[in-house]
Each structure stands twice: as C-alpha cells, then as structure tokens.
C-alpha cells in the first residue's frame, strides 16, 4: 500500500526565468548599460525605429541584440551602420526568454556606457509575458494596426514603460481613432508616455531618444559611471550560476543553443 500525500507548493513557474533575468539586469547595470526590451507585432517598424532613435542619441553608445525566429537581415543592416549588433535566432520560439539573453550578454563586450536595445521577436502576445533582464519595456504600436490593439492585446500595453505610436505619416490615409486608442492605453497604463513617431520621416524620434537618455541617466548604471559611488548591488550571484563563454566580437552571429 502506497502512502499518498498532497503537498502544497505555490511554486511560480516563471521563477527560474525571473531569477536569470535579475542576474542579467545586475550584470548590465554593473557594466553601465541601460537595457530596453523592444516589443511589437511583426512589421511595426522596430528596426527602423531603432535606427531613428540611435541617430538621435547624444551621450550613450548604442548596442543592439536582434531577436528573430530566423535570418540576420536586420543585424547586417545595423552593422552596416557601424552599430554593435548581435543576433539571437530562436528557430521557432515566439519570444526571447531570460536564458537566451543572459547567454548572449555573457559574450558581449561593452566598451562604453550605453543603451542596449533588445529587439524581441515580432509578436504582440508572448514577449510581454517574459522578463529578459531589461530596465525598460518599449512597445511599438502603429496606426496601421488599428486603434483597437490595446483592447485586443492588453498585456503588452499594460506592461510597457514607454509606447511609440509609429507610422503617423500615414494617418491621412487611415481611419485610426486616436481617442479610442488612447482611452484603452490609459485604462491599462495611466502614466506611460506615448510618443507619436514616423519611421519614414524620422519625426518624433529625437523626443524618444531624449526620454531614454534621461531614464538611463536616472538609472544606477549611469550614475555609477559618473563616479557618485552610490551604486549598490544587492543581487549577488555566483558567476558559476550560468556558464560564461569567451567574449565574442560584435560581428559574430550566434544562436543561443550554440556554444561559441
């Protein structure tokens, strides 16, 4: 006769992901890097938005991790502009998770304080559910997707720390109901800044870049770089927690499952 026992656990299934994300966040903070998780559906202009933001950065060096299911088209494009860019290919997975980004970060070289843009897989659902170690979640929405998106994909809008409403140059040709869009955004996220932008004309991105540089300057990472000596790191893990690989040069294309 077996002894049957019910065991109460209350174990959060995301704990391991969140633990690794905290690890990444701490690593980046120590290296004076402010990380932005860039989320949005396929085709909202994430990479074009990044180019526009990067063009307008004044004080911080840009670094990029491109997340794509397959291909390195965007990475080649950004490297062509001289931007340190790394590629994660998920080969089917619909979002980046903390282990993928953590492995990549261990292989990156940050020679100056800066902003790391982590462009997530084009998807308005799953990326919002996973922390990857970012300091800030940036959601890119567009007038072409329609004004009902906050109502249909509420989690992405709720979790965003900043929202770009992109492709506004197309407004004259569309029936985008901005009041309805903003009512949905405000119900989900009362304080989030919303910037109107156009990847085509470049309008609006100087303001986004200014906002990001201010947020980064407020973060411990950058204050520490200026030598105020106030930075403290409470989340102290052993470096053996996750394998550290040799650092890669920026042009190296790597898949998270591939050991360099």
């Amino acid at each position: 006769m077996h002894d049957v026992l019910k065991v109460n656990m209350m174990a959060n299934i995301h704990d391991e992901n969140d633990h690794i994300a905290a690890h990444t966040n701490e690593d980046l903070t120590k290296q004076h890097i402010y990380a932005v998780n860039v989320m949005g559906a396929p085709g909202v202009g994430k990479t074009t938005a990044l180019k526009n933001i990067i063009r307008n950065l004044k004080d911080l060096k840009p670094y990029v991790i491109e997340g794509d299911i397959e291909s390195d088209i965007d990475t080649k494009d950004l490297r062509g502009l001289g931007i340190d860019t790394f590629q994660i290919n998920t080969f089917g997975a619909c979002h980046l998770d903390a282990p993928m980004v953590h492995n990549m970060i261990q292989n990156m070289k940050f020679d100056e304080k800066g902003v790391l843009f982590i462009e997530n897989i084009g998807n308005l659902v799953c990326p919002a559910e996973f922390s990857i170690g970012e300091h800030c979640k940036m959601l890119i929405s567009t007038v072409t997707e329609g004004s009902d998106k906050p109502y249909k994909y509420p989690l992405a809008f709720e979790k965003a720390d900043v929202i770009l409403l992109n492709k506004v140059d197309l407004l004259p040709y569309l029936d985008f109901d901005e009041a309805f869009f903003m009512k949905g955004v405000r119900a989900l996220n009362r304080e989030v800044p919303v910037f109107k932008a156009s990847g085509k004309t470049g309008a609006g991105f100087a303001e986004v870049a200014d906002w990001l540089e201010k947020k980064a300057a407020e973060a411990k990472a950058v204050q520490h770089h200026h030598g105020d000596g106030k930075t403290e790191h409470h989340h102290d893990h052993e470096s053996s927690c996750i394998d550290r690989h040799d650092r890669l040069e920026p042009w190296r294309i790597s898949c998270p499952t591939e050991k360099p």
């Binding site: 209350m10 997975a93 989690l155 949905g184 119900a187």
Partner: protein, 114 residues
C-alpha cells in the same frame, strides 16, 4: 507554442519537490492558470504526456484551475470581468484598471506516492 519549455519547467519543479520528499511517483499536479498568463491548458497537457515519459511525473494527471481576469473600477472599486473592446465598469461606467487577477501561473500542489 511556448507551452513546450514551460511544461518542461513544470516537470522539473514538480520532480524536484517530489524527490526531496522521497516520492516514488507523482499522481497529480494542480496548476493555477490565469487567462492572461498566456498559457493554454490543453497544450500543457498534450506536451506533458510526451515529456513526462520516464520521469516521476509519468502518468500524472494535470488539473488546471482557470482564473478569469478581473479589472478594478477606478470609480467604485468593483472587481469586474471586462467586455470585449471596453474597459468600462458595468456598474458605474468608470474605467477599470488592471489587477493581478487572471495573471496567475503557478503549481499549487502535487499529490505524491511514496
């Protein structure tokens, strides 16, 4: 489709606890899954049956408690389930704000044999 790695994670957590308690097998796993957690119960069960082969979880039954998301009215404080394309409170019409209700995703308990 991200239920596959998540199901692996569920098995890993359940096995860790069961091993610590010297269990010979896990009979059932109770999950609490909010509708806004982004995870589909049927997919978890499908992956579970395949991935659990050869583990302490093999043959275990997955029980899922679903939780409907609720908003909290900023006017009257009512907790309510939203209508499509609306965040308005059905009682007073003011906007609701998000709550944690409906985002749950955890293993509540396991039943083990030893």
């Amino acid at each position: 489709m991200h239920e596959f790695p998540i199901t692996q994670q569920i098995i890993k957590i359940a096995e860790k606890h069961a091993t610590e308690l010297c269990a010979s097998r896990i009979k059932s796993i109770k999950l609490v899954v909010g509708d806004y957690s982004g995870f589909v119960g049927d997919s978890i069960q499908m992956y579970f049956d395949v991935i659990s082969e050869g583990t302490l979880c093999e043959g275990a039954k997955i029980e899922i408690e679903h939780v409907k998301p609720k908003m909290k009215c900023t006017g009257c404080g009512e907790l309510f389930e939203r209508e499509f394309l609306s965040f308005s409170c059905p009682k007073c019409g003011a906007d609701g704000e998000p709550t944690q209700i409906g985002k749950e995703f955890y293993i509540e308990s396991i039943e083990i044999e030893r």
